[in-house]
């Protein structure tokens, strides 16, 4: 059969992304409600507060390098301590995740934008205002009431200055930002998915974003209530937490632990989602058990938040409630174990490309595993009676949070950096940064845990020389310095690669999700044409189809509609890279003409043959 003659004719395109608005770059970013601009602002601000968090950590570890240290006065140490917890989690780890979610999730689900863009932008500004409120208190008298500012210590009787007010008000603003962000993200994922992207095909990072949002709405509201009550108690004669007047000091502890447990869960979920995608991409393997990982993330969110009392085993709570918390905490072994199992199965038999994102993701997975194994050991009540609030518990929490927030966050940053900037992050700094962070964390955590076994409590501004912890604390401080150095290296790397990194194409790593279908960086409207989704790996399907057509020049005559429907495809597709956005397969498979995609697809996606998706009979059945 004679193949039809093809002539590639240039077609008109709307190129909105290159039009100048006449404003300076930062003005147009700051005034934009585009989910990508908001995402970039989140990421940049979060990295700024990461610098603040490691500064605080290093200052505290300098004070704790030697026994009976007198470098920093106790009040000053307590100010650093009170700022550190909120900075490391709420001003760095979660906003970094929010930035990546804001930027990547609409692209991953094939959306042209966020469903509620102004709410999304508002969430950033609430976060920034809250953060500024907390840090502005350093200009006069910041909070000295500790990581959680637990009542009654944070009541006006014991913390008379307005530092706690600034802390609580800023905290509340950030929490409102979390809630606004969560509503926006949930709505986007609920309403804006590409045609064919049913829930079981939602990429794992986007699914994690959904679970994160659901968690944030619940725990963020709880914390807004808690800090509001605290502010009323402090300023307007309230008695919510004043025992003498019929209030309950433990109520605040419950509420703030619900929140911080939720935040812990959120940071881990973000890492679970990002690592899952990175493992699949860099092992060149399909996701193993995608639906199980998704279900496990949902279960992890629910069980994790319900296990908040795991942090309160020593509090005066009837033992029955503590057994409930223990049941929830111990059960976390099931979802976490399943996620780890599926990660291992995804990697197994693959051919690993040890690129920076993969290296960071593997390190993150290792630290998360070790940290969560420690947390799991502490979920048995008597274990916690001996190690809670000591260096042991501190170590496990830091292991898991540095694993997920820093290494996991940096893995995601390396992975999606080419999408955000169009450039790769440099490889020369990333190796050193990775090993410094990994080695620094281990060197910091293990000795501090050993000090905890000697009786070292958390949050102390000094330790005594007669307690056998001196060497451990010195090693721990050295580890913290290495960790800080490693973090700084990656931040330098990100800053210098932003304008000078090696150029990346639209598909930087050979990923299989839809964000790689968009240009790097994507235009304001993300996609010229939104493709139909027919499997868990929509972009792989597109790539396969392009490969089929560009290698098999002899098109099957048995499919005349397909051949005539896409005259431009075959020729344009050969030069796949940067042009693919405006190219071939998607061009006729938009939402209006789904049938064309089916007919035109030489190798229908696996899903068409195997409608049961992740639950079909696979090799390991």
């Amino acid at each position: 059969m004679t193949p039809p003659a093809y002539t590639a004719t240039p077609r008109p395109e709307v190129a909105t992304d290159r039009l100048s608005t006449g404003k300076r770059d930062w003005v147009s970013v700051a005034t934009s409600a585009d989910h990508k601009a908001v995402g970039k602002m989140f990421i940049a601000t979060a990295l700024t507060f990461l610098a603040a968090a490691i500064t605080l950590l290093v200052m505290m570890r300098i004070q704790l390098m030697i026994p009976d240290g007198t470098i920093i006065r106790p009040e000053i140490f307590n100010r650093l301590l009170s700022a550190y917890g909120i900075t490391a989690t709420l001003l760095f780890a979660v906003p970094l995740l929010m930035g990546l979610i804001s930027y990547i999730v609409p692209l991953q689900i094939g959306a042209r934008g966020a469903a509620l863009p102004r709410l999304n932008a508002l969430s950033y500004w609430l976060y920034l205002m809250g953060a500024v409120t907390v840090y502005a208190s350093f200009l006069y008298h910041p909070s000295e009431a500790g990581t959680l500012a637990l009542a009654p210590l944070s009541d006006d009787l014991f913390s008379g200055t307005h530092g706690v007010d600034a802390w609580a008000a800023g905290f509340g603003l950030v929490c409102l930002g979390l809630i606004a962000f969560a509503i926006s993200t949930l709505t986007t994922v609920r309403l804006q998915r590409a045609p064919g992207m049913v829930w079981r095909r939602v990429p794992l990072f986007s699914f994690a974003a959904t679970m994160i949002s659901a968690t944030l709405i619940v725990v963020g509201s709880v914390m807004v209530a808690a800090v509001s009550m605290l502010l009323i108690d402090r300023n307007f004669g309230g008695i919510f937490f004043e025992a003498g007047e019929g209030g309950a000091p433990l109520l605040y502890e419950h509420l703030s632990w619900i929140f911080f447990t939720g935040i812990y869960v959120v940071i881990l979920l973000g890492a679970f989602g990002a690592i899952s995608e990175i493992f699949a991409t860099f092992s060149r393997q399909p996701q193993f058990g995608q639906r199980t990982i998704a279900g496990s993330m949902a279960a992890f969110a629910v069980l994790g938040v319900l296990a908040w009392m795991q942090n309160m085993y020593s509090a005066p709570i009837p033992i029955g409630f503590l057994y409930f918390a223990m049941l929830m905490a111990v059960s976390l072994a099931v979802p976490v174990g399943l996620i780890l199992f599926n990660w291992l199965a995804t990697l197994r038999g693959g051919s690993t490309a040890m690129k920076p994102p993969m290296r960071f993701a593997l390190g993150a997975a290792a630290l998360i595993t070790i940290g969560l194994a420690g947390e799991w050991a502490q979920s048995v009540i008597p274990v916690s009676w001996q190690v809670a609030n000591t260096g042991v518990a501190w170590g496990d929490t830091h292991m898991a949070l540095i694993g997920s927030g820093v290494l996991g966050g940096f893995a995601a940053l390396h992975y999606w950096f080419p999408k955000i900037t169009g450039r790769y992050m440099g490889t020369s700094l990333s190796g050193g940064s990775f090993w410094l962070i990994l080695g620094g964390t281990v060197l910091m955590v293990i000795p501090i845990q050993l000090a905890g076994l000697q009786g070292m409590p958390v949050d102390v501004y000094k330790f005594y020389g007669d307690t056998g912890m001196s060497v451990y604390n010195l090693l721990g401080s050295l580890g913290a310095f290495a960790l800080a150095l490693g973090i700084i290296l990656t931040m330098i790397n990100a800053a210098s690669s932003y304008n000078r990194g090696a150029r990346a194409g639209h598909d930087a790593w050979g990923g299989s999700t839809l964000e790689w279908f968009a240009l790097s960086p994507p235009p304001a409207h993300n996609f010229d044409l939104v493709p139909d989704v027919r499997s868990n790996e929509p972009y792989r399907d597109i790539r396969e189809a392009v490969r089929q057509r560009s290698t098999t020049l002899e098109l099957p005559g048995a499919r005349p509609e397909a051949a005539t429907a896409e005259p431009a495809a075959a020729t344009v597709a050969v030069q796949e890279p940067a042009e693919a956005q405006s190219a071939p397969v998607g061009s006729e498979s938009g939402p209006e003409t789904p049938a064309a995609a089916v007919d035109g697809d030489p190798e229908p996606a696996s899903d068409a043959e195997n409608p049961s998706d992740g639950d079909g009979d696979g090799p390991l059945a």
Binding site: L153, A377, P382, Y461, L620
Partner: protein
């Protein structure tokens, strides 16, 4: 009680890898729980990390082979088996947790060498083995101990050996957390919400502890000590302490009566 099983692995691990060596039946239980759970957690973590490294070092088949491989992986069968296995592990740990918690909470009767309440001159039949109750009050930034006869002391608690001691913990200001690792786990108190701990010290000696709940500027200095002595020495100490307190109060009262110190005369 269960804690006897902990002795052997604890010896093998050495003191550096476990909390302070237990000196009371309750902490023997917490030690057992610690060793079992840390061993289990370490085993799992090391196993997973090694598997992770091994899996990531894979240089599997050629690109074309892998592309041709089935794209849906992770079937319900294998997931169900893995989930059931993990669920059984969690259930076993939960049951273990309840058993060991109940064992650690159960107050054991005072031993043969200990002090019975009959010796305390409070209303109780001879030979009764009611535990000795001590009121422990956390304040910024010290612990105050009040004994059954009203005598009190600060910083250091003195108790008889081999005697069941129940601590009624309370706080007068902010949150505090009682912890003397060799004798009791940590138990937190809030104003208005008391808590309880118990121990029965096996041996004479001084045991150190520290509050582990951030409580303000001098929190790091909020240490505690328990001095365990023979019952006879305990009673002698109690008499001496109460005489000392009485003398000090008398001196103050005299000064008030004389008008050399401010205050209200009780005379």
């Amino acid at each position: 009680m269960l804690g006897a099983f902990a002795a052997l692995p604890a010896a093998a691990l050495g003191d550096g890898l476990t909390p302070a060596s237990p000196a009371s039946p309750g902490t023997e239980d917490t030690q057992l729980a610690y060793i079992v759970m840390v061993a289990l957690g370490t085993l799992i973590a090391v196993g997973v990390v090694i598997a992770l490294i091994a899996a990531a070092r894979g240089r599997g088949g050629a690109e074309t082979e892998r592309e041709a491989a089935p794209r849906t992986r992770g079937t319900s069968g294998v997931q169900r088996r893995a989930g059931i296995g993990l669920g059984l592990l969690a259930a076993a740990v939960f049951v273990f947790g309840i058993v060991v918690t109940e064992s650690a909470r159960e107050v054991e009767p005072t031993g043969a060498d200990g002090l019975t309440t009959a010796q305390l001159d409070i209303a109780a039949p001879a030979g009764d083995t009611q535990p000795l109750e001590i009121k422990v009050s956390g304040q910024q930034w010290l612990w105050r101990y009040e004994y059954p006869d009203g005598t009190f002391s600060y910083y250091e608690m003195v108790v008889p050996v081999d005697t069941a001691v129940v601590l009624d913990l309370e706080s007068t200001d902010v949150l505090h957390r009682w912890w003397v690792p060799a004798l009791t786990g940590m138990f937190a108190v809030a104003p208005g919400s008391g808590n309880q701990a118990w121990f029965k010290a096996d041996e004479v000696g001084t045991y150190e502890g520290q509050s582990t709940q951030f409580s303000g500027s001098s929190y790091a200095a909020m240490r505690a000590a328990v001095r365990v002595v023979e019952p006879a020495e305990y009673e002698a100490w109690l008499t001496e302490e109460s005489q000392g307190i009485q003398e000090a109060q008398d001196a103050v009262q005299r000064a008030v009566d004389d008008g050399t110190a401010p205050g209200v005369s009780l005379g």
